[in-house]
């Protein structure tokens, strides 16, 4: 009975694995095939990989797109971690009369879809362009700024801070640490799982972000990887081999980030804190 149960568990799990891995397999196989073979649904690896890579790198500025994507994802993630961890910490640790009302209003902003914010934001950055051009339309900072912090990350940090032992703060104060010192030397090391989880989510969101970079970035030299991939499919006769090659290149960084921080991610999301 037990064996049967085990067998059926693994059987179902294998099918689920196959189903979820197939798109990746398809992606990897397709990057080695010619466009015609891809559209004909060829499931065997081909010999066209070098040609695909060559024509992708020769015809499109993949290097600059990778740089832009990395720049946006890394800077936005770092800023996001700093701002939202401080905010989450402050909301939970410090006493203030109106803090719960402010926090609830902040949470309400989660309900506004980005599509509704897009036009006002564009207008705002149009105004910024007039006075501070390096923060305005068509710059990487205009992509980053709206994502520096969102209510979600503040919420994530506040929830996890609930499990942070307050006695440590008292101890720190007695030992003469400044408030910022307590945050840096006591809070940050003990919350590294939360930082890792928030970091992964923020990195992935920013790496994969499409709509906002699409409208705010205009010229090819500030293009990000998702925009580049979208452009590859812009023709009446798209070259699917090249498209899949670009998709693989665009997937690798998020996959790597996730694999390396996976352990922390699971712990951070479940909110455990090691004492």
């Amino acid at each position: 009975m037990n064996k049967l149960k085990l067998f059926s568990t693994y059987f179902i799990l294998s099918i689920a694995t196959l189903v979820s891995l197939f798109p990746f397999l398809w992606m990897l196989i397709s990057m080695t095939n010619k466009s015609v073979d891809v559209s004909n649904g060829r499931l065997l690896p081909g010999t066209h990989l070098i040609e695909n890579l060559k024509s992708l790198f020769e015809n499109y500025n993949v290097g600059s797109a990778l740089y832009n994507s990395f720049f946006i994802a890394i800077v936005a993630t770092i800023l996001c971690l700093i701002v939202s961890s401080l905010a989450g910490y402050g909301f939970e640790i410090y006493r203030s009369k109106g803090k719960d009302i402010v926090f609830n209003i902040l949470l309400l902003s989660l309900m506004i879809p980005f599509a509704a914010l897009m036009v006002p934001l564009f207008r705002f950055f149009g105004g910024v362009s007039q006075t501070i051009p390096f923060l305005g339309i068509n710059t990487l900072f205009a992509v980053i700024l709206p994502y520096v912090t969102t209510a979600f990350f503040v919420f994530l940090f506040r929830q996890n801070t609930k499990m942070f032992t307050r006695e440590l703060i008292e101890a720190g104060r007695i030992d003469g640490l400044s408030e910022l010192g307590i945050f840096i030397h006591i809070y940050m090391p003990s919350m590294k799982n939360t930082f890792a989880a928030a970091g992964i989510i923020s990195f992935m969101n920013n790496w994969n972000n499409f709509l906002w970079p699409l409208v705010i970035l205009q010229s090819p030299d500030v293009q990000t990887i998702p925009l580049l991939i979208s452009n590859l499919g812009s023709g009446y006769s798209p070259d699917f081999g090249i498209i899949y090659t670009a998709i693989v290149i665009g997937t690798i960084p998020t996959a790597l980030v996730f694999f390396f921080l996976q352990k922390y991610f699971v712990e951070g999301m479940s909110g455990s804190v090691k004492g």
């Binding site: 004909n40 800077v75 051009p133 409208v215 979208s230 812009s234 009446y236």
Partner: protein, 430 residues
Amino acid sequence: MKKWFLLFSTVLLIMALSACSSESGSNSGAEGNSNTDSITAWAWDPLFNVAALELAEKQYTQENKDFNLKIIENAQSDIVQKLNTGLSSGTMNGMPNIVLIEDYRAQSFLKSYPNAFYDMSDYINEEDFADYKIPPTSLGGKQYGVPFDTGVTGLYVRTDYLEEAGYTPEDLTNITWEEFIEIGKDITKKTGKKMISLNPNEPDHLRFMVQTAGEWFTGEDGTTANIGDNEAVKNAMRVYKEMLEEDIAHINTDWSSRIASFNSGEVVTVATGNWMTPSIKAEESQSGKWKVVPVPKLSVEGAKNASNLGGSSFYVLNIPGKEKAAEFLADTFGNDVELYQKLVSEIGAIGTYLPALEGEAFNQKDEFFGGQKVTTDFVNWMREIPRVNYGMHTYAAMDILTGELQNYRTGKKLEEVLNDAQKQAEAQLN
């Protein structure tokens, strides 16, 4: 931890600094709209529209040496998104000087953003262009768009399959969709190949079927729904369903599987716009096995064996640099006969500028199509395309009809289908 924090801050600082320096470098180019020396254009498809603009620039700069065109390539849906956001925010900041817009969408842009586009009436002569291109590209008697490529449709046929079933391409020339279905049933029976590939979730065939009858989903004003009592729509829906029911249709689910349907030799015919030619020719092993005949028509009075699917036109935005951009378009796509020869011979784009649609480039025999003068034929059919106003809501109407097509297939009566579609359209479109 302190070390980490320091490291983080340093990385951040370095990246910020490097970005600032590279930003100031790229900014000079990015401000194409305020800096009137350089004209920016947005277009999709590097091998087609972008290539056409590059050719035009090459021709134009021979005489205007200081002219500088910056072409930015974006997917069509992305251009629509960017234009809508930019124009509705009211700041023209970051908008291009020239933009390519598909004819089906043009009216909604022209009407929604009244002062955003520059009147081209003084720069080009609208009578020089194919008649059917004018209603989508003009508004209130003013010509805004410079008509570019034609989406003239044809029926690509596999001659070897036809022969196997005892038919010739002539049997499929100038027929109605009913005749097409009859022949299709016979060919499918004899060869085992499906006659046509359809995607019921994206029934774009309906669009050019309806246009063969000179009708559209909206009325002359471009906004009133015209589905319920529209014989052409009724006919097209019936034909579409019949093709699915008679089992002569191969079902595709997306663009790549549609292309696969003919690249892999599963279907006998492809009914679509002439821009499909490169995708058909991509399968070199099928060279000599294809021909193109006029697209079938609806059996509605006045219907012609000519229609259009897609096609787009250039527009100039009402921002600094507009005169320069307008002169460029007028001198190239609005005037340059030689350019149109190159467009055909170098990128296979068939324009709609009538004075330039003959000459050597248009008379080339294409060995892939068994020596047929494909371009000549397409141009001749283009002159026949019935003129319709695509109005404001082509894609909204198509969404409604797509939904109702599913109801129709599962047994709902055609009259009810059309009446319900009409009601939905009246509620949604205004």
